[in-house]
Symmetry: C2
Subunit: 240 residues, 2 copies
């Protein structure tokens, strides 16, 4: 049975997808709900599919020999994951797990591979998407070298906020605080201390996952001075 | 006057370059020597060219509003830089400066753009190259979260060493120690302390830029336990 795959086009990567790709994807796609903690694949698994998130949050991570976990990314609706396996000898370069109940479309990786090989516009879009991810990673590496922990939390919050807002804003954390800490590569205790420091510096109020700030500029003054991007930030990224 | 551009093929990206690209590059390329500290371009400059390093080391970096410098990469012979400007509205996403006297080929960016748009094999190779860089960055981010400073220096040295060597090895630092520290995003004093700790843990001897180790395994035991890559390391990268 064919499914409507128009939703793929909410991701800029698919805006120039060929009618043939959409037809094949429509015949082969499977859309399902997955429980929290469902593991889609493990780092180095042989890759058959890539995934499109219709709803929910998915954690991409790798594990070290001594059992620690490094978050590669945390992605939400409209994003794909697992697709870079086509450049990694068909092995997933990370593990993927649902952070909460998710609705996910599973699509054969071969369709993506054929589309890249035969549709040059799509290949260009794929490169554009990889370049955006590269910029995001460059900034991440820069911040880990130059920003202190409170500044990095500040930057994370800024990317969730309406940066054009004049004056006060309310920011909603997209997932729980401990996951934000891992996303930022911080130990829970470092994260807590840094968050307190950030409150002190900016006067923000935190209640559960809701953060209120009476002046966004206090946050940008604090975080963006230790960043090479201009403000308003050009480096807003796909996955937060 | 046309120049021989066969040397481009030492970079895997150009293995499927079309005869037309090579012909056009041959007519437009300029190969010159540049002094130490020569600045090829500044972050956000409008991009006209990309660069191929024939010899020497080039530092790619960004600067923050408060004047700190973050190293994006340090590249040597056989590598290109500035090419991703084609995905960044024709602006360079970082600054580039010669770390030592260099021999560099300058090539119009338009030729690369046309080649990507018209030669699908080349586009695929470009994506492969971007994916390798992505893996390198993922590992870098992981290490900054999970490895301590001595382990990160250990990993840097391992990437310079012959990892298949049985027993003792001699490793030559490719550039001076302070640049290694910035490459790893460490303050000079952190770097010195960490290097001493690493000496203590592995028994390595350091004389200037030469490092001797009687047993490579001591270094891998120390560093690779806090890494998600398998050993021998699959994540060996182009730029060290």
């Amino acid at each position: 049975m064919s499914e409507n795959v128009e939703f793929l086009k909410t991701n800029a990567l698919f805006k120039n997808a060929s009618p043939q790709f959409l037809k094949d994807a429509s015949a082969a796609i499977s859309v399902k709900r997955f429980d929290k903690n469902f593991v889609f694949f493990i780092n180095s698994d042989e890759a058959q599919s890539f995934y499109f998130i219709k709803q929910g949050w998915v954690k991409l991570f790798r594990e070290t020999l001594d059992g620690s976990q490094a978050i590669v990314d945390i992605c939400t609706g409209g994003h794909i994951f697992g697709e870079t396996a086509i450049f990694e000898n068909n092995q997933y370069p990370y593990s993927a797990e649902a952070v909460e109940p998710c609705e996910i479309a599973t699509i054969p990786l071969d369709l993506l591979k054929t589309e890249i090989e035969t549709n040059n516009k799509f290949a260009l879009d794929m490169m554009g998407s990889m370049a955006r991810y590269r910029r995001q990673q460059d900034r991440e590496i820069e911040h880990r070298a130059l920003q202190n922990a409170p500044q990095r939390i500040g930057c994370f919050l800024l990317r969730l906020a309406d940066q054009t807002a004049d004056g006060g804003v309310t920011i909603q954390l997209p997932y729980d605080k401990m996951l934000v800490a891992s996303r930022l590569g911080m130990q829970p205790e470092t994260f807590s201390r840094a968050l307190n420091k950030l409150k002190e510096k900016t006067g923000m109020e935190i209640k559960g996952g809701t953060i209120k700030l009476d002046d966004l500029e206090k946050l940008t003054d604090f975080s963006c001075s230790a960043c090479s991007s201009s403000f308003p930030c050009n480096d807003l990224q796909s996955c937060k």
